[in-house]
């Protein structure tokens, strides 16, 4: 077990890769009452097509999320209740990039940690329980669909991507959920839940050496054959968007719009994606927040309200920039984007201010045990080091930020309008 120390955050932690291939990271958080452990696989909603050992697989959209639901049941036992009996809260989530299972507990970590490893590495499901789960998942999807902002975002993905699975909701849709079978779930589990493909992150005040022993002993009792890693197959994706304009209606008080810039993800690795994402985020922060004198003018003239902003998401699989606002003027948002970027309101002073803000956010993110554990794990699964992000932020130059404006010329653009029901 290797002991590590991060000097910026003054954090002590340990890491080890077990014989099974499971990577374990253990943070010693001395003053905390509770402990959190999270185990994750880089198997998210984007892994609809994948290859392992030379065999290609295509699965129903939403299957990673379905699998997450079903992992909580085994031999008619309810995992959640087993955790509850020992006073531990267990939960899970599926995102586009990963599936994560985690618990928090105030007692000795041994029991819940063993239970977490046992249920994640023992998938046992019946046809009946798969069928039963479909109703629950479809209600979950309906719930997200009633949220206008969530729906606007999902429609934006659909308008951008022809083939790339970001076009599907994380949970799929009613048809794909109904099409998922027990056999398909087992196949997905076998491909994606091998320990060599997974990471366990633990934050606890308990003795790190004893905690690592618990993990070692538990995993030593399980048998895992050596396996290769699954590889995501990204279908060829045209550079052009699907819809240059798409309109849909909901029962909302005001019309909303997203302008989406679809880009080709030409990043060598996750670090470069993070670097370029941060540089562009800084530029947009300088141009589309009160840093820009035009911002107050836009507010005063009613061109924007508090529902105005942007989002940059650069990964090695996809890259996009979104701007959103709330107005009846369909042309207004594009004019604001042009006006804001034309001003190019960035200099060394503003850059230093923005950098300081993001350094502060880095420190804030480390205080909540559960949130920190999950953030660290997510970053790791996505090829990033949580601690390194702050160093990358510090290293960004004004030249990088200015250069990031090139996204405008490189992108294919889609305009998505959510209109009030008449």
């Amino acid at each position: 077990m290797k002991k590590l120390y991060n000097n910026t955050f003054k954090e002590e932690y340990y890491e080890e890769t077990l014989d099974s291939g499971l990577k374990v990271l253990l943070f010693h958080k001395k003053d905390y009452v509770s402990s959190t452990a999270a185990i994750g696989t880089p198997y998210g909603a984007l892994m609809v097509n994948e290859t392992k050992d030379g065999i290609s697989y295509h699965h129903n959209p939403g299957i990673a999320h379905f699998l997450e639901h079903k992992l909580f049941e085994t031999d008619d036992k309810d995992i959640m209740n087993d955790f509850a009996r020992i006073g531990a809260n267990v939960n899970a989530f599926t995102s586009y990039s990963e599936t994560v299972y985690y618990f928090s507990s105030n007692s000795d970590i041994e029991k819940p940690l063993n239970m977490l490893l046992d249920f994640v590495y023992n998938f046992d499901v019946t046809e009946e329980s798969v069928e039963k789960e479909k109703g629950i998942i479809i209600e979950e999807l309906n719930m997200y669909a009633t949220n206008p902002v969530q729906r606007l975002l999902n429609e934006s993905y659909k308008s951008m991507y022809h083939n790339f699975p970001l076009k599907y909701d994380i949970g799929g849709n009613a048809d794909t959920v109904n099409a998922i079978s027990k056999d398909e779930l087992i196949e997905c589990y076998k491909i994606n839940y091998h320990p060599s493909n997974m990471v366990l992150v633990i934050s606890t005040s308990q003795d790190p050496y004893k905690v690592m022993d618990i993990v070692r002993n538990n995993m030593a009792e399980k048998n895992f054959a050596k396996e290769s890693q699954p590889v995501k197959d990204n279908l060829s994706e045209p550079t052009e968007v699907v819809n240059k304009e798409y309109n849909f209606n909901m029962d909302v008080s005001m019309n909303k719009q997203i302008i989406a810039y679809k880009l080709v993800p030409d990043f060598k690795n996750s670090e470069e994606a993070f670097y370029r994402q941060a540089a562009l985020t800084f530029l947009l922060e300088a141009c589309f927040t009160p840093f820009n004198p035009l911002y107050q003018k836009w507010l005063d003239e009613g061109e924007i309200n508090d529902f105005f902003g942007y989002e940059v998401d650069y990964t090695t699989d996809y890259a996009y920039v979104l701007f959103y606002y709330e107005s009846d003027d369909k042309e207004g948002l594009m004019n604001i984007i042009k006006e804001g970027l034309d001003l190019r309101n960035i200099d060394e002073d503003i850059l230093e201010q923005i950098k300081r803000k993001y350094i502060g956010i880095g420190f804030s993110n480390i205080n909540q045990l559960e949130a920190f554990t999950l953030d660290y794990l997510k970053d790791y699964l996505e090829g990033m080091d949580f601690f390194k992000e702050i160093e990358i932020i510090k290293s960004i130059t004004l030249k990088d930020v200015e250069k990031s404006i090139e996204f405008v010329d490189k992108a294919s653009v889609s305009m998505i309008n959510l209109e009030k029901n008449s």
Partner: protein, 419 residues
């Protein structure tokens, strides 16, 4: 083990300072809570103050200057929240700063100057009033676009016809926002600073310098009482169904526990645990019976309104399943009241409730929430509260829930063809 170690000091009459000194966080959290009684108009004013404070101040008169300052203080944040407690309102401001020992170029004094400027010298003028009036109306309308929130607003509006104290939600404020003036807001702000009960909570590796600065704030003693323990009186409304063009149906059922003073004996703990057994947790009766066994919903939960002795159950469902879900909810509440559920469920709920309470104090907001709510219901310590819950039996829960009475079933019917 003592879970929360803190000091409490009365700075002036009705101004309390609570300090939790801990090295576990890398930030310093400072909470100012202002509590006093207002009507709906006053609440609308407070809602605007919540938006305005932190946008601009005498020292930082533009949004740009304010933003630059927050950035220079390493992402210093100021979040405001308004909660209602019967007629009483609590407007709280939460300042979050990175502990300066981890950084270069900032000091505690910089943080304190930022607090005094933003909180005690906010720029409330004609422009900020108009701008935030508009922003707030938009934000409320946007919230009400979500069917679950819209349903809760309608539910409270219906109950407010019987008791004004329910008239405190978004939909009511929107209409009041057009009526209030800049003078109303200025007067409310001035009353808030001069007359309300103030609670200041400091959490982190708090240095004496900061405590001294807080003690020296120019705040006068005040005559303020913020606890209203009159029980709400509600008649049975029975069943109300409305509709909205949306993909799901929202269902809310509310019940009143009769004949018990919630502040007597262990009633407060019993409603907490009873609610946990009914529908707050993944091992709760509603979760097991409605979601897991019958697949009728994804989310279903019950909430306790401790002060008013009320329990409400909310869920999002398909309209075609409405009658089955209503029947199940009734059945589970009936089981709860008679103790017709396993000891295993009772023990699991108790363990999870106790553990989630203990876990909540592992972050600054959770610690603040506990310290803040303590004065309302109980003067007991956190450890006493945990002991109180641990000692409860199934009989305690049945005794409290036995006299429950149905108040209202509210259905916001969705149009399942919408998507």
């Amino acid at each position: 083990m003592k879970y929360i170690d803190y000091t409490k000091e009365e700075l002036k009459k009705n101004i309390d300072l609570k300090v939790v000194k801990t090295t576990k966080y890398k930030d310093i959290n400072i909470y100012f809570s202002f509590m006093y009684e207002t009507d709906v108009k006053g609440k609308a004013c407070l809602s605007l103050i919540k938006e305005i404070v932190g946008n601009a101040s005498e020292g930082l008169p533009t949004k740009r200057e304010m933003m630059a300052k927050k950035c220079m203080l390493y992402g210093a944040s100021l979040d405001a929240a308004l909660t209602t407690f019967s007629y009483h309102n609590c407007l709280s401001f939460h300042y979050n700063f990175v502990d300066p020992k981890y950084l270069d170029g900032v000091t505690l004094k910089d943080y304190f100057d930022f607090i005094t400027d933003t909180l005690f010298r906010p720029l409330i003028d004609k422009e900020s009033f108009k701008e935030n009036q508009k922003i707030l109306k938009n934000a409320i309308s946007r919230r009400l676009d979500k069917p679950a929130i819209y349903a809760h607003n309608r539910f409270n509006q219906i109950l407010s016809s019987q008791d004004e104290r329910f008239r405190m939600l978004d939909a009511d404020i929107i209409s009041e926002l057009d009526e209030i003036t800049l003078d109303d807001v200025l007067k409310t702000y001035s009353d808030m600073i001069a007359k309300s009960y103030i609670e200041i909570v400091l959490i982190g590796d708090v240095q004496d310098e900061l405590i001294e600065n807080i003690r020296a704030l120019p705040l006068n003693e005040r005559d303020s009482c913020f606890i209203d323990r009159d029980e709400v009186k509600l008649k049975n409304v029975n069943y109300i169904e409305e509709s909205k063009k949306t993909a799901q149906t929202a269902l809310i059922m509310a019940y009143k526990l009769n004949g018990h003073n919630i502040f007597e004996g262990n009633n407060y703990y019993s409603i907490l645990l009873g609610n946990a057994v009914l529908g707050m947790l993944p091992c709760s009766l509603l979760f097991i019976e409605v979601r897991e066994k019958r697949s009728l919903c994804y989310t279903i939960d019950s909430r306790d309104n401790k002060k008013d002795g009320m329990i409400s159950v909310s869920t999002l469902i398909s309209y075609k399943n409405k009658d089955r879900v209503i029947k199940e909810i009734r059945k589970q509440l009936f089981r709860l009241s008679l103790g017709l559920y396993s000891k295993d469920i009772f023990n699991m709920s108790k363990r999870l409730l106790v553990d989630s309470l203990i876990q909540s104090i592992d972050d600054s907001d959770g610690t603040y929430n506990y310290l803040h709510s303590r004065g309302y219901y109980s003067s007991e310590s956190f450890n006493d509260m945990i002991d109180g819950i641990e000692k409860l039996t199934k009989k305690d829960i049945s005794r409290l829930f036995k006299g429950y009475r149905h108040i209202i079933t509210y259905v916001l019917k969705g149009d399942e063809e919408t998507i």
